[in-house]
Amino acid sequence: MFLQQLINGIALGSTYALIALGYTMVYGIITLINFAHGEIFMVGAFIGLLMVSVFKLNIFIAMALAMCVCMVLGVVIELIAYRRLRRSSRLSALISAIGVSIFLSSLALMVFGADAKGFPEGAFPLHQIHIGNADISTLQLTIIGIAAFLMLGLEFIVQKTKIGKAMRATSEDYAAAALMGINVNRVISFTFALGSALAAAGGVLVGLLYNAVSFNMGLMAGLKAFAAAVLGGIGSIPGAMLGGVLLGVTEIFGVAIGYSSYRDAIAFAILVLVLLFKPTGLLGQKIQKKV
């Protein structure tokens, strides 16, 4: 029972982590809570669904395509809705982000309708594996595997590649990075592309997990993923992974011990408590007050 719930929790948490990474990276680089990020996740899920059910593509190819489309979407959103606001107040950018979020979800409502859509039968070869008294599906294992693979890939890009290092430099000191000859705008676009791709992957995986894709799935998942990012320490990539998994596991265990109707409140209660007692999150760094 415990093992079963743990695996369920980790599988759910991995999807939160995938979305949380985008929040954390974008916040790290332009200190904006990208409210539209949850909708990118939703769009990703729909693209994946479309590829599988209409174009009859393999689920993994569909996921890769969804990631590509969302990369472009993320970059375009930044270009249109955020770039010009980079020097305005934080509030303006935040409201613009909320506007994008409303726009995308109502667009999805218009195009795909209000009902949740499921993946066609056999889109993913489902098998159950028995470990002890736990039933673990191949889907759960795949989710955990893909999430882990993508996160390791991201970590590699950020730590080892030239553009990844430029991302870190830019998130630390915008002007100093520009003085190095780094094209800051391009680095920011790249960050949005990367984060959006991960969110799209998360969207397809969640769509498979619940076998439901709907226009309003972005809001709650986005908010929870944000909670995960804050829990881990916003701006920290390992923090987002840790936060996502912790949140997923807590949520599943909360449901298991009978608080299923408070499911959505659990994530936010954790969020509020973390903000109150350790505002920098589990792996975040302290920020010195500037006078």
Binding site: E172, L179, M180, N183
Partner: protein
């Protein structure tokens, strides 16, 4: 090599520069001195493209660079060591230096530049794996200078290299600045330690509230009673 003509810069309603003109010849060390808020840093930042000019013209090696974005300026051969060092504190010494070479793609050249930097600052070689935030103030200054040298600049802009450093270190840093200059890099230096700056510079400009009030040969300026007055209120 660098010509600044009648440069005006505003921050909102505040006029930071009121028609500054100055120039730097190939191979020189030129010092900009003056009190806080006189506009020294603004000049460097406008040359680097971080701060937009309201009017006026900046040209480098004959090309107009007034409205060119900062990352292009670095490519053209100007690099800046900003005030307060601003190293990437969460990155290692090595990674900081790699960032300095961001515009370059020649692996061999980068390797050579890095060896040159380690030769100038042996301390950095010892600490190449450490995160920059664990370095002392003096070491961070060395890292900031080393980082700027990684792009092989023809003109190096130095902003307050002595700030917050112990006197022993200040002398060391100034020796290295002369060394860098001797190896062929032209230098424009902003410094509050006027005597130190004038002792290594060939020429200097004295700024006050966004305008050049005095200029000339560094040795002559060092002896000028006006300079002493500006600094010590004599």
């Amino acid at each position: 090599m660098l010509v600044v003509e009648d440069l005006f810069v505003n921050y909102k309603a505040i006029k930071a520069l009121n028609g500054v003109s100055c120039q730097v010849q190939q191979g020189e060390i030129v010092a900009l001195i003056g009190a806080n808020g006189a506009g020294k840093t603004t000049i460097l930042n406008t040359i680097s493209g971080i701060v937009p000019a309201a009017s006026g013209k900046i040209s480098f090696e004959g090309k107009d660079i007034t409205d060119i974005p900062p990352h292009e300026i670095v490519r053209m051969g100007i690099s800046q060591v900003p005030e307060g060092r601003r190293v990437f504190s969460k990155m290692s010494v090595l990674e900081n230096l790699e960032m300095g070479a961001f515009v370059r793609n020649d692996k061999k050249g980068i390797q050579e530049a890095m060896e040159h930097v380690f030769q100038l600052f042996p301390r950095l070689a010892e600490r190449r794996k450490q995160l920059a935030k664990t370095l002392s103030g003096g070491e961070q200054q060395m890292l900031a200078m080393g980082r700027a040298l990684m792009s092989n600049p023809r003109l190096l802009l130095l902003d307050e290299p002595s700030m917050g450093l112990a006197p022993m270190l200040v002398e060391k840093i100034f020796e290295i600045i002369q060394e860098i200059n001797a190896s062929g890099t032209t230098i424009m230096l902003v410094e509050q330690n006027a005597h130190m700056a004038l002792s290594i510079a060939s020429r200097a400009y004295v700024l006050e509230t966004g305008t050049v009030v005095l200029q000339g040969n560094a040795a002559e300026l060092a002896a000028d009673p006006e300079v002493r007055k500006a600094y010590l209120g004599e």
